[in-house]
């Protein structure tokens, strides 16, 4: 059998719209769940039990559930809470942000704990508040040590966007699937999809490595 690569060119605008949805979902998820993860991580290491326990329970609850379940949850739960349909993108985004914030929280926590305790002591001893010491001294160093795990997690988020198809969102893989239904050219299209995922993730890791190099030089 021969390949018919024209099918990709013919459907390129549609496929790219799907890819754009995936990229958007991944980017906004990372942009929101990373800061949220930082907050949860600070709760996880807080000496105050009323902060530590809820944060710990939240992280464990989210990490012991599959993403697809959380997506379902939000898809059916958010409209009940808000009283009106919110659209598939918004509900998937909410699910992703909550789900991945738990994973980012664990990365941030281990990053913070990799910074020597003496650094916090030194910062506190000069009269910085706990928040200032975290922001100026501990987090910048933690960020450097967690860069590789963060990059990996971003790739996982991007690959995770494929889950959004379960509630009908037109992300990249779903779009590709719809095109194969119509054109009966699954081999070409799925090869193309694999190539696209590879390129996007490679670009992501290269970018992360550059950031790492930059942070490393500041030593």
């Amino acid at each position: 059998m021969g390949f018919d690569w024209a099918v990709i060119q013919d459907n390129l605008p549609l496929l790219m719209r799907g890819l754009w949805n995936s990229v958007q979902l991944a980017a906004i998820t990372v942009a929101l769940s990373f800061p949220l993860g930082c907050v949860v991580a600070l709760g996880r290491i807080s000496p105050r039990p009323w902060l530590r326990y809820p944060a710990t329970i939240l992280v464990h609850a989210l990490r012991s559930n599959p993403l697809i379940l959380i997506v379902f949850w939000f898809f059916f739960l958010v409209p009940i809470l808000t009283g009106r349909p919110v659209g598939d993108f918004a509900s998937v985004l909410a699910a992703f942000v909550v789900f991945f914030s738990a994973y980012f929280a664990e990365i941030v926590r281990s990053g913070i704990q990799s910074v020597r305790r003496g650094q916090l002591d030194a910062a506190l001893s000069t009269g910085l508040t706990y928040a200032q010491a975290m922001h100026r001294i501990v987090l910048p160093q933690a960020l450097r040590s967690m860069m590789p795990s963060l990059a990996t997690e971003c790739v996982i988020v991007f690959q995770g966007t494929t889950i959004a198809y379960v509630v009908g969102m037109r992300e990249f893989l779903h779009t590709t699937f719809l095109v194969t239904e119509r054109t009966m050219r699954p081999v070409e299209l799925y090869l193309f999809a694999a190539l696209v995922y590879f390129v996007v993730c490679l670009a992501g890791s290269l970018f992360a490595r550059r950031l790492e190099g930059k942070a490393g030089r500041a030593r």
Partner: protein
């Protein structure tokens, strides 16, 4: 000025069931340099760390410059009046030496960058590393790092300096340069509490020696008397061991 700068009153500190400090009381006058010595695990560092409440003690109190630490509502302000130097320097590796020194004055005390940098450069000159201001901590030798850490503590114009084994992590040839800076500070009237095993430094610079063992102060004496005739048998034993090693 007769009231002590630091007054430690029946201080008790526990880690779980381990008693790190038990019923420790001591006053430290302004302008004096006191060396705290004793075997490891005797509570020397814990005592220092209680004085700026890096350790939360359970019993007793510390009164610093007339203010109770137990009742203190503004710990950052209180801590900014007490400089601390650590065994492992604890310079911030992601900041230049200059930024290490200017950070707290700018953030905690609201100084302008210019004023803070002026002070920092003067202090770095004073500790003999004025030419290293633009470098990162990792590019300096241990001795230079510790001197930078002393400059960082001095930048807050503290009333008291705490030294927690400042030379224990240094190669022998770098110890002298750090001790020289400390001696210079003491001669200029800084109130200093120094935990150290450097008995030569203690003998030369300290006004008084405090000897601790098992979380208590066992002996406190003027330097000359401590070295000639320590009263407590445990202090004598300790001195014998540490002096004859040399």
């Amino acid at each position: 000025m007769n009231e002590p700068l630091v007054s430690i009153q029946n201080l008790g500190l526990r880690y779980g069931s381990f008693r790190a400090l038990e019923d420790v009381s001591a006053d430290f006058r302004r302008g004096t340099c006191v060396v705290i010595c004793g075997p490891s695990g005797s509570g020397k560092s814990s005592l220092l760390r209680c004085i700026n409440r890096l350790e939360e003690f359970q019993d007793g109190d510390v009164v610093f410059d007339g203010a109770s630490l137990r009742a203190c509502q503004d710990l950052p302000r209180l801590r900014s009046e007490i400089g601390m130097v650590f065994q492992h320097f604890e310079l911030y590796p992601h900041l230049s030496i200059l930024d290490n020194v200017t950070l707290a004055p700018r953030i905690a005390k609201g100084r302008s960058r210019r004023a803070a940098e002026e002070t920092a450069r003067r202090l770095l000159d004073r500790v003999g590393i004025g030419d290293q201001a633009g470098k990162f901590p990792g590019e300096l030798s241990g001795g230079q790092q510790q001197r930078a850490a002393i400059a960082r503590a001095l930048a807050l114009e503290p009333k008291l300096m705490l030294f927690d084994e400042p030379t224990s992590a240094l190669d022998p040839e770098m110890i002298a340069e750090v001790l020289r800076v400390m001696r210079d500070l003491a001669r200029n009237g800084m109130t200093m509490l120094v935990v150290t095993h450097e008995m030569a430094f203690a003998r030369e610079v300290a006004d008084e020696i405090v000897f601790m063992d098992k979380g208590r102060i066992v002996e406190r004496a003027e330097t000359a008397r401590f070295f000639s005739a320590p009263a407590a048998p445990r202090a004598r034993e300790f001195l014998d061991r540490i002096l004859h090693r040399l």
